[in-house]
């Protein structure tokens, strides 16, 4: 049993190590793409395109040669790290739907950004507006949850529907002014990933990973036993706010590929799968990131090969992982009980 466990642990560490290398490589690729005007980096960029061409040649695909595909794949891989990482705390705080809510808030943000750019000629990043509005929404949910006597999910439901309502109003109002495709944001689309959106996701991922590693202990304690954490004089309100703001940030980054409607899936489904098989909290974190990677990579393969939307493909693969995890864990409990 212990030998089996140490094997398992080694396997998880290898998986996490590979994921880390992949994620760093993706951040590097996005950096090269962003800085390709700089002489030395320009050469690296050319090399990367050649490598992509060879990859396409051997795989018989038409994917890796195109920088816009690099951006969406890199964004996907980074979502597969950051979303389950934050999601592990959310799921175990019974806040699974907060991601969905903040995505709808961010959608309202996109609508606001569109309206502003249509009326004033401003041409900044829509994602940045979505980020700001998403964070404001996060603070709003936190504020409502602390000041109302209702159950935890009532403010969440109000915020979810309310911000979506505002978003649709603004979009309808501004329809005449913008020839804008809302569907891209609702359902997610590879072509929605702009260079600035991909860079945003790179920055978000690095920040989220650094912050969650630095506050691992505090977030774990608060998630497990909030009252005891308060007695131990942890600043619970501050860490709650930090968690919800990080969620908003991840959601805005992930929205580009998954779309408003599906974004909660990456926060929840890999974590649910990991919870089925993991023995400890640390293992849950590791496994949820691994399941996240499997879902993203599997989803990309499926969507590119079948010419179907990426967001839906990723979520379907994630849910397949979840069902497999349930199957695997019920088998392992059966194996233990028959002994």
């Amino acid at each position: 049993m212990t030998k089996h466990n140490s094997h398992r642990r080694r396997l998880e560490h290898v998986g996490i190590g590979l994921t880390a290398i992949l994620a760093v490589a993706m951040v590097g690729l996005l950096a090269i793409d962003a800085l390709r005007g700089v002489p030395v980096v320009g050469e690296l960029y050319d090399q990367a395109r050649i490598a992509g061409w060879w990859a396409d040649y051997y795989l018989g695909t038409n994917v890796f040669y195109h920088p816009f595909m690099w951006r969406s794949i890199a964004t996907g891989i980074l979502i597969g790290v950051a979303a389950p990482l934050v999601g592990t705390y959310l799921v175990h705080r019974e806040m699974a739907l907060i991601g969905e809510t903040l995505a709808h808030t961010a959608f309202a943000g996109v609508a606001v950004g569109l309206l502003v750019s249509a009326t004033t000629g401003w041409d900044g990043s829509l994602m940045l507006v979505a980020l700001v509005v998403g964070i404001l929404g996060a603070l709003g949910v936190q504020w409502l949850a602390e000041r109302t006597n209702t159950y935890g999910d009532v403010p969440i439901a109000i915020m979810l529907t309310g911000s979506f309502a505002v978003g649709t109003l603004i979009i309808s109002y501004g329809r005449g002014m913008t020839g804008f495709n809302v569907e891209g944001y609702l359902f997610g689309n590879i072509s929605v990933v702009t260079p600035s959106g991909a860079r945003l996701m790179a920055v978000i991922s690095v920040v989220v990973v650094v912050v969650t590693v630095a506050t691992y202990k505090q977030l774990l304690f608060i998630t497990f036993d909030e009252q005891a954490a308060r007695v131990a004089r942890l600043n619970v309100t501050w860490y709650n706010t930090l968690l919800i703001v990080m969620t908003a940030v991840v959601v805005v980054g992930a929205m580009q590929i998954l779309g408003v409607i599906l974004v909660a899936a990456m926060l929840v489904v890999p974590v649910a799968a990991a919870t089925q098989v993991a023995h400890s909290f640390r293992e849950t974190l590791y496994c949820s990131i691994l399941f996240g990677q499997v879902a993203v990579i599997g989803g990309f393969v499926f969507s590119i090969s079948q010419g179907l939307p990426t967001g839906g493909s990723i979520v379907v693969v994630a849910i397949a992982c979840y069902l497999l995890a349930i199957f695997a864990s019920s088998r392992s409990t059966a194996a233990i009980s028959t002994r």
């Binding site: 009252q227 131990a232 023995h279 909290f281 849950t284």
Partner: protein, 245 residues
């Protein structure tokens, strides 16, 4: 040294008074049993002592400091009523839960070997070292309470506050659990225990505070047993109910 010092503390939920004009002290090494009928404000009083709630009036000191300025979180170990249902489905191992006792010490820095040694020691003391790698949600009620006590020990707390810790724990484990509390108290840790079973409290606690919104008795166990505080406090609820009829 005075561990907790309450003076004329009053607290109400809106219009509904929960704690009225309570003054009491817990000294170093005390084992205080906090008893009273259901809804008598025991848990509220404990929350006030620990700084989870702020009083409407009166002053509260923890280890000689005003409670809202107190920041030595590691000096208090707390086992809440909800502790038993929390973490219901969360995959946290006993070792991980006990290690949380070191978090207030460590802050944002990494846990040291010393921290891990303290955790091992705490697991040994409450005799659940063999369960260290099990998930908290797979433990029995009694084992789970031991895990929470171990967390308090790992934080090297000087005060252990427990809110009805043995609800849903079988009689045998309960006895063992209270023996453990007694021996921890003998080693110098002050204990505040909320318990509905008055027999347990009079057997184990050295001092008793009996409340029903107001403080009916505060003193050593012998004087409590001889006094009428119990009937007065529990009777008071009866009278109120009667009055409404």
């Amino acid at each position: 040294m005075t561990v907790v010092d309450l003076e004329n503390v009053t607290f109400a939920y809106g219009e509904q008074p929960a704690v009225k004009d309570v003054s009491l002290r817990v000294e170093e090494g005390d084992f205080l049993g906090l008893i009273g009928p259901n809804g008598s404000g025991k848990t509220t009083l404990l929350h006030l002592m620990l700084g989870l709630r702020s009083p409407d009036s009166g002053s509260i000191e923890l280890f000689g400091e005003p409670v809202d300025a107190f920041d030595d979180g590691e000096r208090i170990g707390y086992v809440s009523q909800q502790a038993t249902n929390r973490g219901g489905s969360m995959p946290v191992t006993v070792r991980e839960a006990v290690t949380m006792g070191r978090f207030a010490h460590a802050g944002h820095s990494r846990l040291t070997d010393e921290d891990h040694a303290t955790v091992d020691e705490a697991l040994e003391t409450v005799a659940i070292a063999d369960l260290a790698d099990r998930q908290v949600n797979q433990l029995s009620g009694g084992q789970r309470q031991r895990a929470y006590i171990a967390r308090a020990l790992a934080s090297e707390a000087d005060l252990l506050a427990l809110d009805e810790p043995t609800v849903g724990v079988d009689a045998e484990s309960r006895d063992a659990f209270y023996q453990l509390l007694e021996s921890l108290n003998e080693s110098g840790i002050a204990i505040i225990l909320i318990e509905h079973d008055i027999g347990v409290v009079t057997d184990r606690a050295s001092r008793i505070a009996c409340i029903n919104t107001e403080l009916y008795h505060h003193g050593d166990t012998e004087s409590f047993v001889e006094s009428d505080a119990l009937t007065e406090a529990y009777g008071a609820t009866g009278q109120v109910v009667h009055h409404h009829h």
